[in-house]
Symmetry: C2
Subunit: 193 residues, 2 copies
């Protein structure tokens, strides 16, 4: 739980009791590699904080192509926000890439927590705005960068994630075929030829 407490204290000022109240609202869970914590169509009734391990959050097109929205490693959150907030069917899949430990909270528990500790509202406002900034960068990259620029941008921005995922996953994240990613990597190593 330490990592979660540090995460909170870094972002909002809380008393020890409030910190206790917050962390006690979350339930520790383990997830095995390759297992899903959410599938499109289900109602997402949880929000999870990643304590350990990694996940991919992705969208599946009607013809079965997988597009990874983001990877979640330690200190990231996993959920389908739209589904969690509005209790509508999820659009996203969330799957563990490594054995993982997460802290989960339900919609009701979270509302109760907001009520009992209003600072939490602030924590999530701040967190959400940060994600928003990251998403904006991603949109700019997706629309304006070449495939190679998106690749280099990813490894620069997420050096911690990069070594933990396969080429196939990375290709899906930056929006290229795995074959083309392979060609790009060669070309970056050997600019001649």
């Amino acid at each position: 739980m330490e990592i979660f407490k540090e995460y909170i204290k870094k972002r909002i000022s809380v008393t020890d009791e409030q910190l206790e109240l917050i962390t006690s609202s979350y339930t520790p869970t383990t997830v095995k590699r390759k297992n899903f914590v959410l599938r499109a169509g289900e109602i997402c009734n949880f929000e999870g904080f990643v304590k350990k391990g990694s996940f991919k959050i992705f969208y599946l097109t009607p013809n079965g192509e997988e597009h990874i929205l983001y990877f979640a490693i330690e200190e990231w959150w996993i959920s389908d926000i739209a589904s969690f907030n509005d209790q509508e069917p999820a659009q996203l899949y969330i799957q563990a890439l490594e054995d993982a430990e997460i802290l989960v909270i339900s919609r009701e528990q979270k509302e109760r927590l907001f009520h009992n500790c209003p600072q939490v509202e602030r924590l999530f406002r701040i967190m959400s705005q940060r994600s928003q900034v990251a998403s904006q960068h991603r949109i700019i990259a997706a629309l304006g960068f070449t495939a190679q620029e998106r690749y280099l941008d990813f490894i620069k921005r997420y050096p911690k994630i990069y070594p933990r995922i396969s080429n196939l996953q990375l290709a899906s994240y930056i929006g290229v075929s795995q074959e083309f990613l392979s060609r790009m990597k060669r070309q970056i190593l050997k600019p001649n030829k």
Copy 2:
């Protein structure tokens, strides 16, 4: 101010006094077509609610290509969140596409408002999460859709915005050249030939 009050009441429950407190924290301003309210490099010291008119929020690449992140019409917000929150140089430009009226608030005023009326924190948490969902859709569209799918998706999602912008702006939003957008439109109207 009515449109702003309605906007708030639709999203959080507030007393009349609180509503008054919130709206009185904002200052009405007018902006002429083509004028900038923010340029990259500046510190964004405001957040604005669009009462009337339209804006484009865009990013300029080192070689001068313009990539539109989003259009803001009535009831949308304009700001460079990262710059506004962390007082760092803005990455974005915000320019009026039509004569506009906005309600603006400064960083200090907003912090004061959060302090005096904690529900506002909730309002922004909700709003920010909604933007987050929209951004996620945009990422999926940018990475997984063809240019034509992105075009059709835009006019379906934003039928109110579509008639108010030029082809050049739309092309920049969906990430294609204006020539190609023109060709797509023809092909959609006349699938033969």
